[in-house]
Assembly symmetry: C2
Homo-oligomer: 238 residues x 2
């Protein structure tokens, strides 16, 4: 490409099949035509965020940007991780959402705990969706991180897939770098809110087979622990 | 303590010796008296950020907060890590500084690279110092992360201690979870700016014995890669 910048992956949730043409949304059109200065005939990559990846060819860039879908393929299912996370302080969840999406976490579940509730999750939802999309595009992944509504811990634990390995981030406990059991479908990391899980909640997590895991030699903030867990998970498969 | 909140570690760069009394600075005094509601006779912990940790006893909380130093001890030297980091986009360095301090990194060296320079590092310095102190207090460490001025890569490489292990974060390369050589003094992670190191810079790093290392299965942003490297280092010693 003669582009000024390497075009990032486009996120097109309504990706049509091969042979179709589509008019890009204004933000994507501006990005392709102005930022990347792409020209007719050049190629772009796009994903629907549900595991499909498409090659597009630009057929019009002046009056609106139109691309033709040349091929669509499915990415093989990859490793899967969920993060169940108590409320951090302030606006710290914003970057956490972005970082977890970059690291390839499949699902982010905000957990309302006795010592910390998600007060502004509804207000932040649109912003989190944008951040998750930005993380997807940055890392050129084809599966968009799912963002749940906040749930009480008991309900969040009920949602955890049956055949999963489950880790509870704590300041104590040991790092268990166990080999991945190929039958495990999902790795799940649970992090308490900034005030910590209360004893009953911790007990409920242990009874749901969560194993305590220490991520650093010192206390970490909620959002730091959640990201450190995702890095740990990511490193195991790198 | 009858405190409303568990008092965090105080950061007192001018920590006097045992038997001395000191008047807390207004921000610390407010924290101790108002936030924690601590009373005369209660104890606090403080550090000078240079490896010393002190037990203090409150002797006055009404007109100014005065504490007496009861004991001062030295923490044993721990594992050491430096992060050499190119400029990320926007304000992303702020949280990176906080997170690296929380994870116990010893020294943060901003690197000016051909494809990315630190433009506002001088303006941000006071803020970064506050964030490093907040990370120290949060994680209850006794050694404050050192913040260097931005340096060109060649100069930054010259500063790296001789007997160190050196890692270059890249999208390719392999994770080498080598056992720690006990003679290694410092682990050093090098991360390029958002535009990446240019070929000459990369070559200079390789010639300085930096080993390529992949931290995730996808491209990471500069600040994400720097934090992921620090988590990797932290996990090795957890």
């Amino acid at each position: 490409m003669a582009a000024e910048a390497t075009p990032g992956l486009l996120y097109l949730p309504e990706l049509p099949g091969p042979g179709s043409s589509l008019l890009l949304e204004p933000a994507d059109a501006r990005y392709v035509a102005r930022v990347c200065r792409a020209r007719v005939g050049e190629r772009l990559e796009a994903t629907d965020g549900r595991g499909h990846r498409a090659d597009l060819r630009l057929v019009e860039v002046r009056k609106g940007v139109v691309a033709e879908v040349e091929t669509v393929r499915s990415d093989p299912p990859g490793r899967r991780a969920w993060v169940l996370c108590g409320a951090p302080e302030g606006e710290r969840a914003d970057w956490l959402v972005e970082k977890l999406a970059e690291l390839g976490v499949e699902r982010f579940v905000p957990v309302d705990a006795a010592r910390g509730r998600w007060r502004r999750a509804a207000d932040r939802r649109a912003r989190w969706e944008r951040l998750a999309i930005a993380g997807l595009r940055q890392s050129r992944r084809s599966r968009l991180m799912a963002l749940e509504e906040p749930l009480p811990l008991a309900q969040a634990l009920d949602r955890v897939p049956g055949y999963s390995e489950r880790w509870l981030a704590e300041a104590t406990g040991s790092v268990t770098a166990a080999g991945t059991d190929p039958a495990v479908e999902v790795a799940v990391g649970l992090v308490g809110p900034s005030g910590g899980l209360d004893p009953q909640e911790r007990q409920a997590a242990l009874e749901s087979a969560f194993q305590p895991m220490r991520l650093a030699g010192a206390r970490l903030r909620t959002e730091t622990a959640a990201m450190a867990w995702a890095v740990w998970w990511s490193l195991r498969g790198a």
